[in-house]
Symmetry: C2
Subunit: 337 residues, 2 copies
DNA sequence: TTCTTTGATGTAATCCTTTTCATAAATCAT
DNA sequence: ATGATTTATGAAAAGGATTACATCAAAGAA
């Protein structure tokens, strides 16, 4: 509507009979102003309903008090739970959280780089796949761009500070769990080809298979894309095999859930006929039928940790990257052969 | 790190041998500047790597080119899918999307009101429950605060412009579906007491029951809170009843999923032993076992519509509130008695 | 008493754009 | 060729805060 001009610091100053400098001081460093004056000013602030103009402040201070979080898909549970952790930490530090959803589209990604360059944010948290030609973090750092911390999808180009888990190790643990239950023929449903996590989890799968002395078979490595539909497709592929595996390791929970429902509909029972294990431990993994055995990633903590690292960088420190622990969560979807 | 001073418009102007006014014009209204000059300026922009300072722009233009979206819980799938719709529309309009997660906590909510007052956003989209004493929209409007559109949780205090579905009607449709299948004893698992949606859906349930000439029974209205655990608790309550209902209507899908898995573990089969119907049609509703019959809310469209309405208000128009259509999605969790 | 220090406040520069208004040059009509 | 338009550019005034520096009064030291 009518942008009905909001009160400025001048009006407060006039009403309180002081200079604008004093008003500013009352708001930011109240201790250095005389108690009597302060009360008068604060009274004037209340009376006028004054709130400071964020743009003016940020122009003068040369910082925005905001962080940009770049997400490839905000509708995805996995990411949104990380956001919770970031938000908590950011708002505790007085920072606004800006969210950019790229939908994995290049032009949108570019738009968010511009945000950073425009000074709209003091730093960025990246949940996006750096593989996706986002931008070259080392180069940007050299340009004097605000600092960036990469979360979860961490590869060689992710820049100096990252937060992740040991995906290769976790995948190894998952597959080893299946092997410990006597499974000898184990398939893997991978993530999207271009994603750095895919390679890491495939590597863990292969190592576990190799260490157990099983024969690695390429036909047991199914393609996927982290979506429900890929899980369903994996079931079709599974059923088409003449020599079916007795267990599958999925690169994420969502695909495992897609498999689960399709298998059920087709009369294949989990874990009686086939064991499955997921990755991530998303919220709904506990309420699958049967509940999903999976690798838990500490999502909220990953977000919070990354935010803390970013704050440290902004403060001029040079923190090291962090590896967070993961857990194997054993539920009902895996059983001995 | 070192905030290595970024190039300003002055440097571009100097390099191109023009005034800063011309540089600004080249960036915003290229047509009114001579082609020759324009090329020279644009060249200088590229050469310096100039990007405009968002704070300065926003100070001068008296608008922030950002929208604030207030969410009660960002980890919740239901909300995050609405965000997708908002984001698409916002970025198309050149607006930044700021997300505020209140965690349903008053101090955090207050903080976001302040954002608006600080001019950090040109308008707000509210997914929060206005019941939660957020703030009084009519009052704030009188204060000349940026415009606000409320989505989904719409009640009498939601202000002049809202986007929602007919919750009472949808609940009525859901329950009627059960009745049409011959169910005569139907329970309802409600949402959190304070939530406006709870009342609306309960009302639809009661009306359907009454219209079918069934006896309304208070013990068939179970309390809930939209969480998985509430669904599990509902199962316990269900099983404790001497005269068990043959069907349940859940105020949302998540609770239905909680019920489903607990029922399965206890040997109660859906829909053989009991039919259930959810609400929302969240992503995973299709991959439950059995797939969940539910009411589909057009989440992405709700977000997009709300964003469009907000843009209209900002542009000075006075659009009316919107009611979007819902669908009954029949899947495998409901069957004749 | 006089000089120093401390404490409280004010003055004014600065942050970087956008935009109004004025000016100068170029085009056109007559 | 002269005056009337039109077009392209520049000068300068906002826009609303923060903060280095200056000032002034009061308090303390000698």
């Amino acid at each position: 509507m009518t942008p009905m001009t909001r009160p400025t610091i001048d009006e407060v100053a006039r009403l309180a009979g002081v200079s604008i400098a004093t008003v500013s001081r009352c708001l930011h460093t109240p201790d250095i102003v005389a108690a009597k004056t302060r009360d008068r000013v604060l009274g004037a602030v209340r009376q006028t309903g004054y709130t400071l103009n964020a743009a003016a402040q940020s122009l003068r201070q040369r910082r925005s008090n905001a962080v940009l979080v770049v997400v490839p898909d905000i509708g995805n549970t996995f990411f949104s739970e990380i956001l919770g952790g970031i938000e908590a930490e950011a708002s505790a530090a007085g920072l606004t959280m800006l969210i950019g959803d790229t939908g994995r589209m290049k032009p949108r990604e570019d738009a968010y780089v511009r945000y950073l360059l425009n000074g709209r944010a003091d730093g960025a948290l990246l949940l996006a796949d750096p593989q996706a030609a986002w931008f070259d973090i080392p180069t940007l750092n050299a340009l004097g761009i605000p600092p960036i911390v990469t979360i979860s999808e961490v590869g060689p180009d992710s820049g100096p500070v990252t937060v992740s888990i040991d995906n290769e190790g976790a995948a190894h643990v998952a597959v080893s769990h299946l092997i410990a239950q006597g499974h000898r023929r184990i398939a893997h449903v991978a993530g999207p080809e271009s994603n750095i996590l895919t390679a890491q989890r495939v590597a863990g799968y292969r190592r576990a298979v190799a260490e157990a002395g099983l024969t690695p078979e390429r036909e047991l490595e199914f393609p996927g894309d982290f979506g429900l539909a890929a899980g369903r497709a994996a079931f079709d592929r599974f059923r088409a095999l003449s020599d079916r595996p007795s267990a599958l390791f999925f690169a994420n929970d969502e695909m495992a859930m897609g498999f689960l429902s399709t298998a059920y509909a087709a009369g294949v029972r989990v874990p009686r006929d086939v064991s499955i294990i997921g990755f991530d431990d998303i919220h709904f993994a506990q309420s699958c039928i049967p509940a999903l055995t999976t690798i838990r990633q500490p999502r909220a903590e990953m977000g919070a940790t990354a935010m803390r690292l970013l704050l440290q960088i902004i403060a001029g420190e040079a923190p090291a990257s962090v590896r967070l622990p993961y857990d194997l969560v054993i539920r009902g979807s895996t059983a001995p052969v």
